[in-house]
Chain length 353, copies 4
Amino acid sequence: MGDMGRIPVGIVGASGYGGVQLVRLLMDHPRLELAYLGGESSAGKAFAELYPHLGHRVQQIIEPLDLEKIADRCQVVFLSLPNGLAYKMAPTLLEKGCKVLDLSADYRFSDLSTYTAWYGGDRDDQAIAETAVYGLPELYRDRIAEAQLVGCPGCYPTASLLGLSPLLKQGLVVPETAIIDAKSGTSGGGRQAKVGMLLAEADNTFAAYNVAGRHRHTPEIEQVCSDLAGHEVLIQFTPHLVPMVRGILATIYANLRDPGLVREDLLTIYNAFYRNAPWVRVLPSGTYPQTKWAAGTNLCYIGLEVDPRTDRVIVMSAIDNLMKGQAGQAIQCLNIMMGWDETLGLPQLAFYP
Amino acid sequence: MGDMGRIPVGIVGASGYGGVQLVRLLMDHPRLELAYLGGESSAGKAFAELYPHLGHRVQQIIEPLDLEKIADRCQVVFLSLPNGLAYKMAPTLLEKGCKVLDLSADYRFSDLSTYTAWYGGDRDDQAIAETAVYGLPELYRDRIAEAQLVGCPGCYPTASLLGLSPLLKQGLVVPETAIIDAKSGTSGGGRQAKVGMLLAEADNTFAAYNVAGRHRHTPEIEQVCSDLAGHEVLIQFTPHLVPMVRGILATIYANLRDPGLVREDLLTIYNAFYRNAPWVRVLPSGTYPQTKWAAGTNLCYIGLEVDPRTDRVIVMSAIDNLMKGQAGQAIQCLNIMMGWDETLGLPQLAFYP
Amino acid sequence: MGDMGRIPVGIVGASGYGGVQLVRLLMDHPRLELAYLGGESSAGKAFAELYPHLGHRVQQIIEPLDLEKIADRCQVVFLSLPNGLAYKMAPTLLEKGCKVLDLSADYRFSDLSTYTAWYGGDRDDQAIAETAVYGLPELYRDRIAEAQLVGCPGCYPTASLLGLSPLLKQGLVVPETAIIDAKSGTSGGGRQAKVGMLLAEADNTFAAYNVAGRHRHTPEIEQVCSDLAGHEVLIQFTPHLVPMVRGILATIYANLRDPGLVREDLLTIYNAFYRNAPWVRVLPSGTYPQTKWAAGTNLCYIGLEVDPRTDRVIVMSAIDNLMKGQAGQAIQCLNIMMGWDETLGLPQLAFYP
Amino acid sequence: MGDMGRIPVGIVGASGYGGVQLVRLLMDHPRLELAYLGGESSAGKAFAELYPHLGHRVQQIIEPLDLEKIADRCQVVFLSLPNGLAYKMAPTLLEKGCKVLDLSADYRFSDLSTYTAWYGGDRDDQAIAETAVYGLPELYRDRIAEAQLVGCPGCYPTASLLGLSPLLKQGLVVPETAIIDAKSGTSGGGRQAKVGMLLAEADNTFAAYNVAGRHRHTPEIEQVCSDLAGHEVLIQFTPHLVPMVRGILATIYANLRDPGLVREDLLTIYNAFYRNAPWVRVLPSGTYPQTKWAAGTNLCYIGLEVDPRTDRVIVMSAIDNLMKGQAGQAIQCLNIMMGWDETLGLPQLAFYP
């Protein structure tokens, strides 16, 4: 297919980790082309100055933000900005006919009061927010296909919800018993200079943070779990920092309603649930996911066990936080919005070791 | 105090990580002196050949195992061997009047049928096994003081039990709801060459293993929890491997019996429980432990939160798996057995970062 | 292009890191298909048992070695075995018309006496060894194109020679002053279980090994340097182990013959030298390579400086030791042998961070 | 000895890595007591807020800088501040009779024009600067003993000079051929938040920086080398960043004047040179230093090889950059200034692994 068949795409927020993943993925996508790279503090710089290893493929200069210009040039815009900025830009872009995929939290909540309770600010764009679809294709593929505006999920919610959804959807566990003990590499903290994220601080150590429902991804997980369970559900969610760059593992515990279920039953159910989900791989019996199996891919690997002594199921769900947990999933959503195969242009084989 | 005041100590199993910690700690202990270093495969080698960085302080040659000779020379013997060997040596040493501290699993179980169910073999030394005291001083200090034979706890049980004990002892939580999601550095796997422990395999990744009660530390945790709760308790325990060398963090979840309890209540209870425990530090409100705060020390750091939304307590307990989780705790036990201050000769200040 | 256009390829030695890279790369190569996977100890196992993350794409069973069968099925065979095995298999395969690419040291030396001096054994296959071409395309592209047998370079020689060649070829430096201080991730040690390569041993530390010309890659570097310089050259080569999985950086020092040369002169010369080398990227003035820019790609990144105070040039050359340093380069050679574009099917964009 | 025998010590710049090492080391020193902890941005905070793991031993509040108060309370002051601040404080402290040990570059140069050429600013305190002694005890022990003002060496110079000094002092090598290829953990960059030092950026990668004599430690190394050689010497120095927290390895190359010297000759010379240096350990023949052997200790480990093929000596020198490379060495200097054993209160046994 020639370049005539390529869709022009813009990225706003080019310099962060979300931005560089998107740029990297666009280079290998057969139907997309990068038409605009926008940044605030980095405007005027060559992208290759920030990421020299892409210099042989990406010659673009980062441009200052100009919504008119973006909309003129692009059919699709990825917003990869700190929380609280996207909702000021998206309306203009939507009005001008662009499809918008937002990687921040701005469009993840159907009810804006939840958003403001956790992220602050005051917003009066409930109407637009309601048109946004939560960009988790394994649950909302059909709605994403119709969407003009997608709020891409957080990294923790992606790993957690893919691990937990079959259980909640089929009513196999008591939702209130669900505990998500999640562990993430430090790239989830972004490219901002923070003392706690220095290698000298974060290497050789392991700790929890935002314990007891204090992490902003909690309401996002609960929103979807409540949707699946059919009633409001509170989920125990604890994030931890792993001394590594990429990857999230969510270890999920829940009490089975039917203690007679064994591991193989649940694996069958999971395989059926994800039968048409090319980016979820349910592992064979007795195999547990390593986060690095997913590194650099858009895959989610799931393993599980049933503990007959405690009547609990333990699900392990592993993703690359910057791929399936962020930029890769955004491209997957766009593939669906465009009516393409949802695997198009996305990497599915990790390098090991 | 002169060397006349030093107690001669033997270490059997000098070449592994347990052995080298013990040797290292003995060098700084004011009342102990290394009188015998024994090994099987390494016999005849200078210890400094295995660990050149200790060469300026440790000139000993590793000797072949000879129980007579050990008992002649030593008042105290540390057995730091693979499981299933200590119980063949300890009786002779005990008979000859040595105090014995075993770092393996051989003497951790009051009921040998539990041991054989998890570790195999057939043993008929129930009588001796019953004289052994479980070497967790924060729970069994008085019995350790009287013991001639101590079975030192595993690393995971140490972190887990120190985090969970105040809750179980005081009846504050429903024991059956306790979930221990534990994470360990790879030194816990010992100095044996195993593919899965290669840096190339274990770095940049995170995974669970022995999920659903398959880890041999499970019965050890349950034995003590049952003792504390006053009835048999099953505990959900899941170990994970962290890409770092040292350290364990146990994140512990349990449902509060009294949902009115707040974080400060529990911190008060923990501080009281550990008032006389110099090696446990309960952290201030809102502070969570980093494993590297404990690295190279015999300390256990504990932080906790109550989640009023779910009525759960979340306890985080951090140790150095080779110190408080192994060799340091063995020395702490010996200090108690000798009637010394239990902090004697043990490091309490980590280097940071 | 249909599968009819794919060339059937065999891999002997499927279970090591060389093998898994080759398998992974074949999956994405548009003109190759995996027709045979052979192993000794792993024969009979599914490849996905060893590398579960590739299970959704690789269903092959590892077969026992049977040269007849391999030659029947494959036009091309990659030998990815410990040193000293390939030369016993290659003759049969060559005779039956296969192209053979050997990843071991067996066919890297034009003079077998050099091989046996460093690798031992006695070989009488000088005639076949002489037909082998050293598989460094940037220097020997034309000969590789004609070759039936390629001895693929070691990882250190690849990084070192790409950094040093323009200087030697143009006679810009005094060859005897060349010092190569090289640093490698631990995956270079392979998938064999060795104590020194355990994460617990190799993490948080840095050391040299095989100092003073004791590393087996020394004669390989010297063979090519002598070829380039036109006379026998001895090179100082020191390898070090970096606590990371992938990547080699070679820092190369040499005294300039003409002290008037400045950085920009040399960059111009390097750019010219590598004008037709799609897998070598000479970095802009003042930019030095990070090994992770090359991770998962077949690229070599080169940066350099001239020190006017000492009249030395310092060249930094970075590769992924398992890609351009091993499996990727083998595929690049095959592309050339088949008359295809040498970039075909090889990754050129790293994921960052 | 009672507390009456303890010397009151002040630390200015308490919050950085230099500060926390000093505080940590003071806690274990039998003759020093912490009398003042000063900081600018952190004034008013409890030290334990910054470093909770020391909370059980350090209850001090960080105080605002007040030179009068410091001099009133302290006999000795450690200045652990960014470059360019110490020289504004030291004169007052010296005048009031304090001994001053500066961990910055301010007092490392006998000739202030070298300082200003590399660090900028204009200073007119040449007279005071000339009274400062360069705090490398293995070379300047006698002068340190008499000093009131010590400029403590940088981390790279410490490792480099300890490795190179015996060769230069004895005239065994051609000074102009000396090349120092040095590798450091990232803690050398301090506790400032910098993007390049984030774990996400600096992990899994290896690179050089400040190549070709651009690093500020170059003139410091050259000053001492010139002193030892008896004439001005230019040294090739290249620093690299290792993905680890602590440790420096300097790999040093130089051409032997007498090609007949073998490894054992040089080891004898090194052992003699460091006979009275308790903090330098020359390793046995064939053993090379690991940086982690020195971690948490004040030791420098040295190994070496002679390459008879190239007539070069290769010296490897390993230290903990924050201990012998910074705070530990400062305490060692103070021990000497006070007339105490220079090993007093300093750790000499690393924890391994």
